[in-house]
């Protein structure tokens, strides 16, 4: 039974439970009023009063003072010396004491004395009404969801679905009613956009309009709900909530792409399509690892909800905070974030609850190997993928092995022994630092230290020689060494042999012999003569004991970079190979779950009290049970998906309402906290929420009820500005503007370019905006989200987004009028309809195609006039790039266009250098000529309109080896306009102050090798300006590589229809 009785919060204190002091005397009270209270009021209440309770401390009632702060009690009545409050105002330096009121604002001695005396007296305080603490339990959102009775309405004939009763009742109360029902054409567009997120085609509108059966709308709605396009639209709404992206954000050198984020996206889309009950939808996203059993494990992908957030440079606390945020705001509309540092100021969420949930996520981990989604049948592709991945991963592990093995060479071993020796001689030597400085590994060093140290003493068979010589000065060394060698009493014979092998002139020769002995003995058997030396290697904690991977932390910067690069290559392969089999971004319980520890002020370095893993007090039955299963995520999931949870259904109903009607019932869809006012129509929300649960948490049924309602079907005309100014009563439908996805998808669809194909790896939306796939499948880079997403108010993938912004900016329009996407669609539409015999037919076809209707007579005339006039206006100038040259005899330019564009470099053929054209090529900045005057590189500019221009630009040849180049500017009308030669290493300005151009005049900018093609790389990109205004008419660099194509009037008209408000809004 869900019971809220007896839930107790520290700050909803009833102020009775704490120790009552003795009844204060009159003198004590007078002292309090005169000396103490003014000090408190003036110095403390700004931070520790009714409004703010820094460190959870409140000082405006005796019981609050006694309750103390987040650390514990602040006063011991009668004992100022034991009271942290007194230490604080005296600015005593001690643990858990902060100087108060502040380092620079120490209280006067008189004030300190007064407070001290007051504590000594036992905190006398007059009997007064305790400050009333607000009771959050009374907040509307925490009341159980109850199904309200259907209200009486007058306009019964308008009711289509049950929700209409609630809307009508409020409207009628204000003397209003629903607006008239819209024509079917309008309803069709509304339904397609709401359920699929694309505009309907003309044929689809007509089919609906001509379906005269009484159930036509129901039929259409069911048909739309049954199509996979529904999940693509509604899945995307949930992805806003889930702060979905395909990348991790800034992670320094790590691979940024999540290889398998898309499996979560596809799971969400599929969940909407199969109408997975919402409670189960949530359970799986929080704890699928505990719920999925059996062969088919596709539901594991649901855990991407938790795991695909930003990675904050892998800061664990921030990652957990993000996961808690997405779960708690996403499903409960409760904001936990504040409670990370202090009890939530308004909502009943103490820090203890924050850290209870924190512990749940802290008891969960992501496995290194992500599980394959099954059933999965290996294919040729997947086998190839496995092989390639294994090859890439082997490269990284081979490097690790090689570094490990390399550290046991003779040379390295000598170096380790040398440091070991220095550690005996040099006091305070930082061996770790020294080891690293020499590109050695501290773990290996410590292995040697452990294995050998005990032997380095006077009479040891192994260490004596070393021990006795290590401090001998170099001048006496050879003699002393000889002496010792001559009489090697008790010295290990294997070592002795090596010591004798080379003359011992200095101590390093001794260490070299030791190293040689050790290296020779590595891996020798127990019975070999080197047995003792072999045992150093295999000693527990010896040099071989560190795992190869454990040395990575000690790698040099360049090795670390090299290693990370190899790892990244493997990760990148997983993320980008189309053969990569799908895996789930799961989370699983750690073997040993941990309890929570409150971090004071959110600082992990200041641990406070310990808390169990359990759900929020405000949403728990009494007595609260700590979570039972593993990390507790399953318990958390069940607590959220519980029918008795007052928030879960309300929150989702409100989200769905917002998407269908264009404005939510509760204004802040992800904040149902105590400061959020009840919705204008609370009965409506509760009706839908209880219905939602009673219908098995079916999203499709919920949405169906909404879109079939009379409320949804009413006109969008604004009618009752006075009585319903912000339309919160829904006296009309809200006109909707197409959002980013709906805009792109609709444009593609009505240009016959959209392909309905579900799922899979993301496509590069920015690189190929005209890709035929729906926008929901585009790659989303959370770190550097391309500007077009922001320009069109896409959900910021850094946050859980409850409601998208909707702005209107010139950048949006700029994109519409100039981006190649709109142009490309316009062109293909125009191409198709250009075949029609008359302008009237062309216009009519475009109208039908894009707006689903015939043009009015006036529109038809406007459009036909436009087509005629547009054809008469000047076309833009164009650039072409080619090879050829100017013939001084014929005064003609030969020109062969360059055809191959490879990464911004244009060349005549796909060979470079080409046997005929040599190094001839052009880039936006410059290029290189071919081998002769006749294989010069040419930028050709077609002026289009008559205009007087000036031509500017600098020609620079960087290489001093070059014998120079020659530039010519040649006009198709006036012939050679100028000629310049520039030597290697030189720069010259290539300008023409004034050139009067005829329409369609062609200007060639020709650059040849002049005296020889060697090292003739150059930079030169002319800019053409209006001679009078200085405005840039055209620039070679700016327009380089753009296939300049004059837009036809019919295409320009199609573009107008794609851009117009009628296309981009739904009535």
């Amino acid at each position: 039974m869900w019971s809220r009785l007896g839930i107790f919060f520290s700050f909803t204190l009833t102020l009775t439970g704490l120790a009552e002091g003795p009844v204060p005397t009159a003198a004590q009270l007078e002292f309090f009023e005169k000396e103490v209270r003014p000090v408190l009021v003036e110095n403390c209440y700004k931070c520790h009063g009714e409004k703010k309770q820094k460190a959870s401390l409140r000082l405006d009632a005796r019981d609050f003072v006694l309750k103390g702060d987040e650390v514990g009690e602040v006063v011991v009545p009668g004992h100022p010396e034991a009271s942290r409050l007194i230490k604080a105002i005296n600015h005593v330096k001690a643990k858990d004491v902060e100087p108060m009121p502040g380092e620079d604002d120490k209280l006067s001695p008189r004030a300190i004395a007064a407070i001290t005396e007051w504590v000594k007296q036992g905190l006398p305080w007059p009997a007064e009404a305790a400050p009333v603490a607000h009771d959050p339990l009374q907040h509307w959102a925490f009341q159980p969801v109850k199904a309200p009775a259907l209200p009486e309405v007058k306009a019964k004939e308008r009711v289509k679905t049950s929700l209409d009763y609630f809307v009508l009742a409020q409207l009628e109360h204000e003397g209003l009613s629903l607006s008239p029902e819209v024509p079917k054409e309008v309803l069709a567009k509304r339904l397609y956009l709401t359920l699929w997120g694309v505009s309907p085609t003309d044929e689809e509108i007509q089919a609906f309009v001509h379906d005269t059966s009484p159930q036509a709308t129901e039929k259409l709605v069911d048909q739309l709900l049954a199509n996979p396009a529904f999940g693509e639209r509604w899945g995307r709404h949930w992805l806003d909530v889930a702060r979905y992206a395909d990348t991790k954000g800034y992670v320094f050198e790590e691979e940024r792409r999540y290889a398998y984020a898309y499996t979560y996206r596809d799971w969400v889309v599929a969940a909407f399509n199969r109408d997975l009950p919402y409670d189960q939808f949530l359970r799986l996203q929080i704890a699928a690892d505990r719920l999925v059993t059996g062969e088919d494990n596709h539901d594991l992908a649901a855990l991407g909800f938790l795991t695909l957030g930003r990675r904050f440079l892998n800061n664990q606390q921030d990652i957990i905070d993000d996961r808690m945020d997405v779960v708690m705001r996403g499903t409960q509309a409760l904001t936990m974030g504040c409670a990370r540092c202090h009890d939530h100021k308004f909502d009943p969420i103490p820090t203890t609850d924050y850290y209870s949930l924190y512990a749940v996520f802290n008891s969960s981990e992501e496995p290194k190997e992500k599980p394959l989604l099954k059933p999965f049948t290996p294919t040729k592709d997947s086998q190839e993928f496995d092989q390639e991945l294994a090859r890439l991963e082997a490269k990284a592990s081979e490097m690790v092995k090689a570094r490990y093995e390399g550290s046991f060479s003779l040379e390295k071993t000598t170096a380790y022994l040398t440091i070991l020796n220095r550690s005996f001689l040099e006091k305070g030597l930082n061996v770790d630092l020294e080891t690293k400085r020499q590109a050695l590994y501290p773990p290996v060093y410590h292995g040697w230290e452990k294995a050998l140290s005990t032997h380095l003493k006077p009479n040891d068979a192994v260490g004596a020689f070393w021990w006795q010589l290590r401090e001998v000065p170099e001048v006496q060394f050879a003699v002393k060494a000889k002496e010792l060698l001559a009489n090697p009493v008790g010295l290990d014979p294997v070592l002795l042999e090596n010591l004798k092998a080379k003359p011992l002139l200095k101590f390093s020769d001794v260490l070299a012999a030791y190293a040689q002995t050790l290296v020779n003995a590595r891996g020798k058997s127990e019975v070999a003569p080197q047995k003792i030396w072999a045992s150093f290697w295999s000693a527990e904690g010896g040099p071989l004991s560190p795992k190869p991977e454990s040395l990575i932390a000690s790698y040099s910067v360049s090795d670390v970079q090299g290693y990370r690069k190899l790892v990244r290559e493997a990760e990148a392969y997983k993320a980008t190979s189309p053969k990569s089999p799908p895996r789930a971004m799961v989370m699983q319980d750690k073997p040993n779950p941990v309890n929570g520890t409150v971090f004071l002020r959110g600082n992990a370095g200041r641990p406070g009290k310990s808390v169990p893993r359990q759900y929020l007090a405000i949403l728990s039955s009494t007595p609260r049970q700590p979570f039972q299963h593993g990390s507790g995520r399953l318990d958390l999931a069940n607590a959220i998906a519980d029918k008795n949870n007052p928030l879960t259904a309300r929150v989702m109903v409100n989200r769905a309402w917002s998407q269908v009607f264009g404005q939510p019932l509760v204004e802040t869809p992800s904040d149902f906290g105590v400061r959020t006012p009840a919705p204008r129509n609370p009965a409506l929300l509760d009706h839908l929420a209880s219905d939602f649960m009673n219908q098995g948490w079916s999203m499709k049924k919920l949405i169906r009820t909404m879109v079939l309602s009379a409320t949804f079907r009413q006109s969008a005309a604004i009618t009752n500005v006075n009585k319903d100014p912000d339309n919160s009563l829904l006296s009309h439908m809200n006109r909707r503007r197409l959002d980013f996805e709906a805009m792109r998808d609709s444009m593609l669809r009505l240009s016959d370019r959209l392909e309905f194909k579900t799922g899979g790896q993301p496509f590069d939306l920015i690189g190929d905006f005209t890709n035929s796939r729906r926008t929901v499948y585009g790659f989303i880079d959370r770190q550097n989200l391309p500007s077009v997403f922001r320009t069109f108010d896409f959900a910021n993938p850094d946050y859980h987004v409850p409601k998208r912004n909707q702005t209107t900016t010139p950048q949006q329009a700029l994109w519409m009028i100039n981006h190649p996407f709109v142009r490309s669609l316009s062109d293909s539409l125009a191409q198709r309809f250009a075949k029609l015999p008359t302008a009237e037919q062309q216009v009519t076809s475009l109208y039908r195609k894009l707006l689903g209707r015939n043009p009015t007579a006036q529109e038809l005339k406007l459009a036909v006039d436009f087509l005629r006039e547009e054809a008469l206006l000047p076309v833009p100038s164009t650039w072409q790039n080619g090879v050829g040259g100017w013939n001084a005899v014929t005064k003609q330019v030969s020109f062969t266009p360059m055809k191959v564009n490879l990464k911004g470099r244009l060349t005549p053929t796909d060979q470079f250098p080409d046997p005929f054209y040599g190094h001839a090529m052009l880039t936006s900045a410059g290029g290189h000529p071919g081998n002769h005057e006749t294989e010069a590189v040419i930028r050709r500019w077609n002026a289009s309109a008559a205009v007087t221009v000036k031509i500017e630009g600098d020609l620079h040849v960087p290489s001093k080896v070059s014998q120079g180049v020659r530039a010519r500017i040649v006009s198709s009308v006036h012939g050679l306009l100028g000629e310049w030669t520039v030597l290697g290493g030189e720069t010259k300005s290539v300008t023409l102050a004034s050139v009067a151009l005829a329409p369609q005049e062609v200007i060639d900018f020709i650059l040849d090798d002049w005296k020889g093609p060697n090292s003739d790389g150059f930079t030169w990109s002319p800019v053409i300006k209006d001679a009078k205004t200085g405005e840039v008419v055209s620039s070679a660099a700016g327009e380089f590589g753009q296939v300049s194509q004059v837009q036809t009037p019919l295409s320009a008209l199609a573009q107008v229809l794609l851009e117009c408000n009628e296309f981009n809004f739904a009535d």
């Binding site: 992800s670 922001r790 702005t807 436009f866 006039e869 833009p876 700016g1038 408000n1061």
Partner: protein, 478 residues
């Protein structure tokens, strides 16, 4: 006003008014509507409309010159004679940890001189900027939290080291809108690519996307390369005008049947603004329209060009311009500091001086807050070699968040003033310490905001640039 001033004033007015997307009446109405509101009221249909801040603020624009990577304060604006004395010796006192291990004191290889009436000591690196000693407000006691680029860049730009928060420029644009709606309100120029932390440095966080910094690769030269979608390559200007006339006509008809819907009106209007933006932006970024003398003053270099663009943008009413030195972290001189710092300063000193000269001449300095600095400074001690990082060289400095220098100019800051001190070696700020949060609080005050009240509600909480920190540093304000 002198006739010159009047001319400058009206030129500026003209440049800005050309930019206004609406008629004068609409502008007046807009200004009135949002007059003096404590919280900016954003009209989603005109999110960049100019707004007045709640308090009086002298600064109307900001130019943030970001010497990314961390310029050394002891080699530029904070001379330490004790380093000469202790050169090559261990500093007395406790070892102060930074990102990497450092060793002995390392004296500045540069000469210092005193400049101006204020006698500000500046090294030869910034001798041209130093000519403005009496305009600069130098803070020698800056402090950040950690000696690593990523968190420090985010702290300096967004007031929070790890989590996603709006940048200073986004806050300012959100608070004030912009004076020229035909240009973005917040433009960030960085030649050759992104700095470390990339676009997060100018992110809008939870503020609407329209307040995000607009990145421009200022190593490019032509407007097509500088601004996306700025030109149409298929239609000549008259043909595009004719096309938009038709669009406007269709929208008007559509709207006539749907009265009182401002969203339709605003969207129709936005096309007219976009049409003008093509010209306006082309004009703003085309520095070839400046007289040769002005271009020479800035220098025909990447930095010179981008500083000049910044001035042209501010002149046209852009609210916030950030000038990054370059991609990555150019000022990060872990080794070869003398060579590296000399090169970097050489690149930026002349444009900086030119910018200050120019802003003064145009009468713009009073209302433009210019800020220079990095995400932190550098150690007065020499960095010790680490395998694979500084190739065994011992001639650079490590990161230093404990103490560093920034300077401000214009926009209502106290001119010819030095605030705070580091210790005698320049390691730690010790007197009148200014934390980055304090700097932000002060900058907001100069722009007319109380940093404690300038908030945005997100995730159930009111957020501010300074989070729960920050104190206004009153001595910095004139």
């Amino acid at each position: 006003m002198t006739p010159e001033e009047l001319f400058q004033h009206s030129r500026r007015q003209f440049l800005r008014q050309c930019g206004m997307g609406f008629g004068a009446a609409a502008l007046a109405a807009m200004l009135q509507r949002d007059l003096l509101a404590a919280q900016p009221k954003i009209d989603p249909l005109h999110p960049l409309a100019p707004r007045r801040p709640p308090l009086n603020g002298k600064a109307k624009h900001v130019i943030h010159i970001f010497a990314n990577g961390g310029p050394s304060h002891v080699d530029t604006f904070d001379r330490k004679v004790m380093l000469d004395k202790y050169h090559g010796q261990k500093l007395p006192g406790d070892y102060i940890a930074t990102e990497r291990k450092t060793g002995a004191a390392y004296r500045s290889p540069f000469n210092f001189k005193r400049y101006g009436k204020s006698g500000l000591e500046v090294s030869e690196l910034f001798e041209k900027t130093a000519a403005f000693a009496d305009d600069l407000c130098v803070i020698r006691s800056m402090k950040a939290d950690v000696p690593n680029h990523e968190p420090s860049l985010l702290l300096m730009n967004c007031g929070e080291a790890r989590q996603v928060r709006p940048s200073f420029g986004s806050w300012v644009t959100y608070g004030l809108g912009t004076e020229n709606e035909n240009l973005p309100g917040f433009i960030t120029l960085c030649p050759g690519g992104y700095p470390i932390q990339e676009t997060q440095n100018w992110q809008c966080g939870f503020l609407p996307g329209v307040y995000q910094g607009n990145y421009v690769d200022s190593s490019k030269r032509t407007v097509d390369e500088l601004i996306e979608n700025i030109r149409n390559h298929g239609l000549s200007r008259p043909a595009q005008r004719r096309q938009l006339d038709l669009l406007s006509r269709l929208n008007a008809e559509h709207q006539a049947a749907r009265p009182q819907d401002m969203a339709l009106e605003a969207r129709a209007q936005s096309f007219e603004m976009a049409y003008r933006m093509q010209l306006e932006a082309t004009d703003a970024f085309d520095i070839s329209r400046e007289p040769a003398s002005v271009r020479e003053m800035y220098g025909d270099t990447v930095q010179g060009r981008q500083f000049l663009i910044a001035r042209r943008l501010i002149e046209r009413g852009v609210r916030f311009v950030q000038l990054w030195h370059g991609a990555g972290q150019p000022w990060d001189s872990h080794d070869d500091l003398e060579v590296q710092h000399r090169k970097l300063a050489h690149e930026s000193d002349q444009p900086t001086a030119a910018l200050l000269t120019d802003l003064k001449q145009l009468g713009l300095l009073d209302e433009t807050l210019v800020m220079w600095g990095g995400e932190f400074g550098r150690t007065p001690t020499v960095e010790l070699p680490t395998p694979g990082s500084n190739a065994g060289k011992i001639n650079g400095r490590d990161h230093n968040n404990h103490g560093f220098t920034m300077w401000l100019a214009g926009g209502g800051v106290k001119p010819g003033y030095v605030h705070g001190e580091t210790d005698e070696f320049g390691f730690k700020s010790v007197k009148d310490v200014v934390h980055v949060h304090d700097l932000h609080a002060t900058l907001l005050r100069l722009l007319g905001f109380n940093h404690e009240e300038f908030t945005f509600r997100h995730a159930g909480r009111d957020y501010r640039l300074t989070d729960v920190y920050g104190k206004i540093v009153n001595p910095l304000i004139a």
